[in-house]
Amino acid sequence: MIAEAGHYALVLALGLALIQSTVPLLGARWGDHALMNVARSTALAQLLFVAASFTALTMLHVVSDFSVANVFENSHSMKPLLYKITGVWGNHEGSMLLWVLILALFGGLVAAFGNNLPLSLRAHVLAVQGWVAAAFYLFILVTSNPFLRIASPPIEGRDLNPVLQDIGLAVHPPMLYLGYVGFSISFSFAVAALIEGRIDAAWARWVRPWTLVAWIFLTLGIAMGSYWAYYELGWGGWWFWDPVENASLMPWLAGTALLHSAVVMEKRNALKVWTILLSILTFSLSLLGTFLVRSGVLTSVHAFATDPARGVFILLILCLFIGGSLSLFAWRASSLKQGGLFAPISREGALVLNNLLITVACWTVLLGTLYPMVHEVLTGNKVSVGAPYFNLTFGPLCLGLMLAVPFGPLLAWKRGDLLGAAQRLTAAGIAALIAIAVLWAWTWGGATFAPLVIGLAVFVVAGAMTDLAERMALFRVPLGVAMARARGLPRSTWGSAFAHAGVGIALIGIVCETTWNSEYIGSMKPNDVAKVAGYQLKLDGVTQRQGPNFREMIAQFAVTLDGDELRVMTPSKRNFTTRNSSTTEAALLTRGASQLYISLGDTNADGAIAVRIYHKPLVLLIWWGPVLMAFGGLLSLSDRRLRVGAPKPAKAARALQPAE
């Protein structure tokens, strides 16, 4: 009964989406306010029904109703409650349902808080949302229905993939989807602007908070996924240039470019056409990511060809939306008026450079991700494109971008003074040189390139602080005055400084981890001692334990540093009986931003256990950086101008709510 109700709610949501995608457009064409307002109520009702459908699936998982195929294949009655709930989106059908739930959520937010949007713009935006939603409801109902029943229900489920039985699954996919799907709003705004043939600075101000929200979630989602892979997969890697990761990185890169070009459009009314194009591309890359992950094309082109129903359907959606929106763009973009002029050396110029480098970086990732597939389809030969390729192409672009980042905020709008900016960055440059010198002296004879990159990262962080110091005239006016000026600075200034510093901090972590990572691989018996980076790890013993749906072998390591007992670390290996598969649960010991990392391998016949121990210096900075970036985004989101909303020519606008 619950399954059927959930199924029915989804069908009703499809019906509502179809109404939402047509009626408001007619209303906008005829200037009929009542018809345009239909968008608002259908968007809210749609949210209600999708939420009901999602709740139904969650209930089925919680009560372990194995007469539903989706629950049978991905759940187990003994699974802890948390993983019964997160298991809802730990599979294809459920994760697509989460996708449309978040899409409906964003549509509902625009409907609920978009009161200060011009009526026709809101109608158009929600209609475009309706198209996207309708396409994906159809996809779920036709090819991936999570509510299908099994004729003769089995007594026990097949359990969720053990790797997914982790708190990471509770946080990572929802965050990632909030980012992916959040970009649908800027897409809808862009398409609406093209349909209306009208776009101005106010448009950019409406779009910016939504883009920012999506970007914040995507940043945190990617960082979270990376940390999850780091501790769960057991060999301490945190980024693999896997196509699935690239699928999330591409929208992030495009979204980052969009955030920056939207600033130019909002402040200077320039780069309009480009901003529209980026909005379309960002969501197109989100759709592409969904296609790559959901169609099975990544595993192999042949697997895709043998079971093509889902893949072909998403491919159709992909072609329809990307092709349609780009055609619309080609047709209508010329009608958009070009805005303000600027010299190449200016804030706008710096942001254009940012866009150029980020777009090319994004293009590189796209090329490396799709090349093997396209190559195999065209020639039948298989090639691999892996981490070394991306490090060689993506890396230099990022380093170039880093070098430019501190200059951007110090240049004036319209016409900037590069020499002046360079002078104001002297202190940051000196800090970077000191960092390089100290590191070279400290690691004499070691890596030569790593200290240079760390110097660059220090330059980025110090440059962000210089920007703040310049704006509050620190050291030039009395401290009290400077503090008062600091309070008076727009939040978005603080936001961009934090976000830029976050980039630098993440870079420091990346370089330190990859360059000065030390490891120990060996077989250990109880009372054996391993030495890694000055730490001594003594294997005290091994115990067995029975978990709710797994058996666990736990090893105890006593960790000492220079004779001081630090802590006992307990890495373990879990064996899940239902799927007959095992996971390694790494043990982590955090000291400052550095970590000790132990993961267990197989046990030998003589009782010795294979052990892998890493010392990863400053590894946590890799994730603190993105957290800082997201915090900067949040500060920017709370900026007064975004709260107050876009200026309206005639009537006083009602306050725009922050989009949370």
């Binding site: 060999w235 699935v244 099975g296 002029l341 090319v360 691999s384 981490a387 691989i521 996971t583």
Partner: protein, 165 residues
């Protein structure tokens, strides 16, 4: 198949290559310099039964065989490129995570720098064209519209008597 589609990050990495534990203690070579070379080479070689994992990261039996093979060749005194050539001859280009620069991969290696140069050039030409256009008096955006001309005239006309007075 279902397992592969299951989640966004982690599962794709795990498919086909379950528990993640790569280089085994018994594989390690006695000479640290040679072992370091073997590790570096392993990172650029693909485990062919996995999805996008190097043999250094993968726990699949094939990856272990390849790791041992790499170490065997190194032990016999072959150079890095000889080892790579041997593996490519045996398993094809697919084994390389960093594809070689061949006609097949021409576009792969050339398109990123070309995009950067092309993009930069397009921007430069565009900004020059706009700067030139806006500098010339014939540019429509530099000329006053009729409405503005009329307003200017009215203002000037209103201004003149004051000055004479």
């Amino acid at each position: 198949m279902r397992k592969l589609l299951a989640s966004v990050f982690v599962v794709a990495m795990m498919a086909g290559c379950p528990a993640a534990y790569a280089v085994q203690p018994d594989e390690i070579m006695a000479d640290p310099a040679k072992e370091a070379r073997a590790r570096d080479l392993s990172r650029e070689l693909r485990c062919m039964v996995c999805q996008n994992q190097s043999i250094d990261d993968s726990d699949a039996p094939l990856a272990r065989d390849l790791r041992l093979l790499v170490r065997e060749r190194i032990a016999t005194g072959e150079s890095d490129s000889q080892v790579i050539d041997f593996l490519v001859a045996r398993y094809g280009e697919f084994v390389l995570l960093k594809p070689r620069f061949t006609p097949h991969t021409l576009l792969l290696w050339l398109l990123p720098p070309l995009a950067l140069i092309g993009g930069g050039l397009a921007l430069w030409l565009y900004s020059r064209r706009r700067a030139n256009n806006s500098g010339s008096p014939t540019d429509p955006s530099r000329r006053l519209t009729e409405e503005e001309e009329a307003r200017l005239e009215r203002l000037l006309a209103a201004d003149t008597p004051d000055k004479q007075a």
